[in-house]
Symmetry: C2
Subunit: 342 residues, 2 copies
DNA sequence: GACTTGTGCGAAATCGTTTTCCCGTTAATA
DNA sequence: TATTAACGGGAAAACGATTTCGCACAAGTC
């Protein structure tokens, strides 16, 4: 059981002091070239790895960023993570990922853990549990601790910090507009429960488009589903309408996929009888039959930008730059669930 | 700019020594009850958070586990992460996740970073880049550093450590057998490139089933596709066979989804003209039309077990328990891409 | 009264670095 | 011959906790 090689052990072997080793390893010119070379070579030989904990303690940094996300089995969030990973690697940071599993309690716990001196900053996407509960004290506490943080995707405007969000309003507006221009008039909206922020915004975009074309908003066409209950049952209600809607706009891919299965079962033709557009977060829309016309969110960019904002804050703690909110544009990908328009 | 509250600051405020504070906060009976209460109350008031770096440095632990995965935009791996998250939370650890993006170089870098005293152990799934290159020195180094590690899913048998893998052979055997028993005789295999370990094993299972039913292995029915090139073009070759195969067994969901699209385009009926089974790692098989009969891997369990094995090693460093390899059974989920058999 | 035991707390070492200040040599300059 | 300056390196404090001793005092035991 050979013991760990530390600066101390190297110093002893070589008959120099610890401070000399430290300086030599960072090529400090105050140490002669020979001594430096000797120490560096010896360290390499012993495969010396500096102890990150000691360095961080001394420098009062950690070069680690904490990430709190509600759900990881979600293609959108994983693309965000990839973007975060790209930027943090580029800037020399590591990531500690915590899952809140959409739960308020877990989110609070995660943040407590992460703020125990082990991270330099936080990247957070708020869980639905927290939004439902409406208690944001744990997030305000981060500010009190003077830890930089950036909210992404699931944000709350009244928290004073940098944010990166998708253009939910614009995406919904475009989707709805596209449906209208292809001739649809009774457009059902399958939305989240109203306490989910992005749901509110997507509904806004939907209404804006209707307004613009003089279509009156119709509450019986708006379905707010609870993701913790049976989705099939809830979405089936859309097809009990009389008359049927001529289009569906779903705020989440799963909702759309289920709507398609139900529509096909009812013998409806897509897109002839009913068109469909969905916000997407995964691959289902691409591989489902028919494939689904989709509002695509650029998770990778979102992750990259959020990480960049955060690291900028971390590294310029003094600068009192005002907080920014970056909005990432969405893109509409035409597939087979909508009619072709020229 | 109020400064961080530490034990020292608490001690000064209260006129006691740092060691008293330390003991009081862990309810050490050597400190009187009054003093303890007083210190605890005061600490809570100041919202004292112990500095994890200092504790870890002193105790020579970190309560952090490093995870290295090849790809995160992959439903299977995210379910594994969920399992890891569950178990690590339960046992009081945090997770540091690094993405190798299937690259040998990045994998080496990640491991170097993680082993700089910042983790107590490693959970690794080997990247395809590494398997292609065939250089495992970075993994052997971990052993030299006496850091516990567990390999999961993408494993290599000649590395002496604990492992958790899916029953790739059994899963492939069952899938193939099911196809044979439903009457198929010309079963095409869409496989990875041969340097991917799980590909080898799935092929073994496929061959075993053929053997058992006296069907001769036919190399022209085996397609090894390169994921870095155009999948459609590569998979299209399956449908250039003459005569056509009466079944396809795909080792990855994406391959199967593409095969379905191509088959439908050729006017083939599924499963009447051609049956299809696939190993799955995502949601495509469920939502595709027709839905795909699938070999399901239990990622969540795999993550849980891998984390448990690792933490057991970490916490019983002395015990010289021999290394284990756990195999997680797969399950065949019958859907619409295969014929019903009674 | 001497001795043990228990109680309550503090001093100091320790973990592995970084960093500031200081000291001794040698060579260059006045 | 002093005086500086440059050079090369070391001692020690610091980061924030834990932990082992040891000390002082009081109470109980023989």
């Amino acid at each position: 059981m050979k013991s760990k090689t530390t600066m101390k052990s190297i110093a002893e072997e070589l008959g120099v002091s610890v401070s000399t080793v430290s300086k030599a390893l960072k090529d400090n010119p105050r140490i002669s070239k020979e001594t430096r070379k000797k120490i560096q070579a010896f360290s390499k030989l012993l495969n010396y790895q500096p102890d990150a904990r000691a360095i961080n303690l001394r420098k009062n940094i950690s070069k680690v960023i904490g990430v709190v996300i509600p759900e990881i089995t979600n293609h959108f969030f994983t693309t965000v993570i990839k973007g975060i990973d790209y930027m943090t690697k580029k800037r020399g940071y590591q990531v500690m990922i915590c899952l809140s599993n959409e739960s308020y309690i877990e989110e609070v716990k995660n943040i407590k853990l992460l703020t125990s001196g082990s991270v330099d900053g936080l990247l957070i996407s708020i869980s639905s549990g927290t939004q439902k509960k409406g208690n944001y004290d744990h997030l305000f506490n981060i500010k009190n601790n003077q830890l930089p943080m950036v909210l992404f995707d699931r944000t709350e405007d009244f928290i004073a910090c940098d944010m990166v969000k998708a253009d939910d309003i614009g995406g919904a507006y475009n989707a709805t507009k596209t449906l209208i221009e292809s001739g649809c008039k009774r457009i059902a909206l399958i939305n989240f429960k109203p306490y989910i922020n992005i749901g509110k915004e997507r509904r806004m975009g939907y209404c804006m488009a209707l307004d613009e074309y003089g279509i009156k908003e119709n509450n019986s066409l708006i379905f707010e589903v609870d993701e913790e209950k049976d989705l099939f049952k809830q979405i089936e209600k859309v097809f009990n309408l009389n008359p049927l809607p001529d289009a569906i706009f779903a705020v989440k891919e799963d909702f759309a996929a289920i709507a398609i299965k139900l529509a096909l079962k009812k013998g409806l033709k897509i897109p002839e009888d009913i068109s469909l557009i969905s916000f997407v977060n995964g691959l289902i829309s691409e591989y489902s039959s028919p494939s689904i016309t989709a509002v695509i969110q650029h998770g990778y960019n979102m992750g990259k930008m959020a990480a960049e904002l955060l690291i900028d804050r971390i590294e310029n703690k003094t600068s009192k730059k005002p907080y920014e909110t970056k909005v990432i544009a969405t893109r509409l990908k035409h597939r087979d669930s909508t009619k072709k328009v020229n």
